[in-house]
């Protein structure tokens, strides 16, 4: 027998947001309100129905970038059915998806659960900074939202403002007031991630960046080993009767000590022209061999690839660090939350319909307005 599903705290993970899509052709075009679901799944972005995934992929990525989130994943049910034929693309779902994701991530999901039916959104997320661009079919969408008695707040791109006012002017059954530059105070929640956590998010955002990060650590290990411990490592490989040194010699006294330690006769060591070897233009490695007391000196490699490699690794270390810092700074710039009192928006009050139409031009502004209104 079927049993009723008990509501649990986990239910708050299923964020519902109203969006409007347009269906039909020419004269039969009409807006349909969809209750989309946003669910954090922690594995990968998924869309239901999955045939719409490619249409929404860039929208989801832009929302994530505008919030500077790269490690969380979401399942988004568009509430569309496979047989639904839309006459506009899915890009105008972007604002609803952005609000759903923001509700998932913020502490207002409980409050949102009680008011979500009063809100309706439409708007395309144009870029990774969260700019909201104009939508098609704005009049059909607004008509369906104004006819829905449960909806009190409608959020629409600012770029559609004049089109909407012109449409309402023609509607004799709707009375409205214009509110320009409404100002709301927004508290800065201080949730923006620190500089270092932004760097970490960037450097682990995908497989390619993980590989780059691992190479970066390996380069640091190699470069420091090459410059600090290299002579000791060479001694291990050559045994006691041979010693490899790098030219030009930087520290003659240290080389003398190593030769003595390896059993080279002291009187012969004194004959080695260390002063010339410190000033030589020769670059590479020299092999000093002790053949029964006679010292042989041989240049074995004029091109020290270990040294050249360490320079390449050094360049990579600096370049990768530089790119990460620049990207983290740019992400911070785009992620700056508006400070207190800086959120302005235009709106229309439909006085005989008890509805407010808000015009917005970016995700942060939309989120701040919702957060302000529901608290």
């Amino acid at each position: 027998m079927a049993k009723a599903v008990k509501s649990t705290q986990d239910d708050l993970l299923f964020i519902k947001v109203k969006a409007i899509m347009v269906t039909g052709d020419n004269d039969s075009r009409k807006g349909n309100i969809h209750n989309i679901i946003v669910f954090p799944n922690n594995q990968e972005h998924m869309v239901i129905p999955s045939r719409f995934f490619n249409s929404l992929r860039s929208t989801i990525e832009r929302v994530m970038s505008s919030n500077n989130i790269h490690d969380q994943k979401f399942t988004i049910d568009t509430a569309l059915k496979d047989e639904d034929s839309l006459c506009d693309d899915l890009s105008s779902l972007g604002l609803s998806i952005a609000i759903g994701i923001e509700a998932c991530l913020n502490d207002w999901k409980e409050a949102w659960e009680n008011v979500w039916e009063e809100w309706c959104f439409t708007g395309e997320v144009k870029d990774s900074q969260g700019e909201i661009g104009a939508i098609g079919g704005a009049r059909e969408k607004l008509e369906s939202a104004t006819d829905d008695e449960t909806i009190n707040y409608i959020m629409i791109p600012f770029q559609n403002r004049q089109e909407i006012i012109n449409w309402i002017d023609k509607r004799k059954d709707i009375n409205y007031e214009v509110n320009t530059s409404r100002n709301i105070s927004v508290k800065d929640t201080g949730n923006s991630p620190s500089f270092f956590s932004r760097i970490w998010s960037l450097s682990t955002r995908n497989t390619f960046m993980w590989i780059a990060l691992i190479l970066w650590f390996l380069s640091i290990t190699y470069t420091s080993t090459r410059h600090i411990f290299w002579e000791n490592i060479q001694s291990f490989s050559n045994g006691n009767s041979q010693l490899t040194i790098n030219l030009p010699i930087k520290n003659p006294e240290r080389v003398k000590q190593r030769l003595l330690k390896n059993g080279f006769p002291e009187d012969r060591i004194k004959n080695i022209p260390f002063s010339s070897l410190t000033k030589t233009n020769q670059i590479g490695k020299a092999l000093i061999t002790n053949r029964n007391g006679a010292i042989e000196f041989e240049i074995i490699n004029s091109q020290d690839w270990t040294l050249i490699s360490s320079y390449i690794c050094g360049g990579y270390i600096a370049l990768f660090a530089f790119i990460l810092v620049v990207l983290a700074l740019r992400a911070n710039k785009g992620n700056t939350k508006p400070s207190t009192g800086n959120i302005n928006y235009d709106s229309l009050l439909l006085t005989n319909r008890n509805k407010e139409i808000m015009f917005i031009d970016n995700i942060k502004q939309a989120e701040a307005i919702v957060e302000h209104k529901i608290h």
């Binding site: 079927a2 986990d10 239910d11 299923f14 239901i48 129905p49 999955s50 049910d77 509430a79």
Partner: protein, 96 residues
Amino acid sequence: MLNLEGIEIDLEGLKMARKEGLPIVDWRNNALRLFKKLCNSGEEASYDVAKALSKKLAIECMTELDSYFNIFGFMDEGERHKWQKLSNQLRTIYSS
């Protein structure tokens, strides 16, 4: 008797098949096993099992089976009809 544990195991198997690109036969077998359990299907599907799922399990079954049918299609109209009913049921659970 409701076997949620069995459904969870089949669901994990299906996720793994999709992510790891198992042979089509394995993927299909995993998907159809889960599908049949949720439909509780003999000749007449009852969907009683699906109705008892938690919201989380419902959306995960929906996601995986939707992906499967999107890629491989339906064997016949009967399967398509059952999926439409089952997906409506699953959606009702996690949208409520």
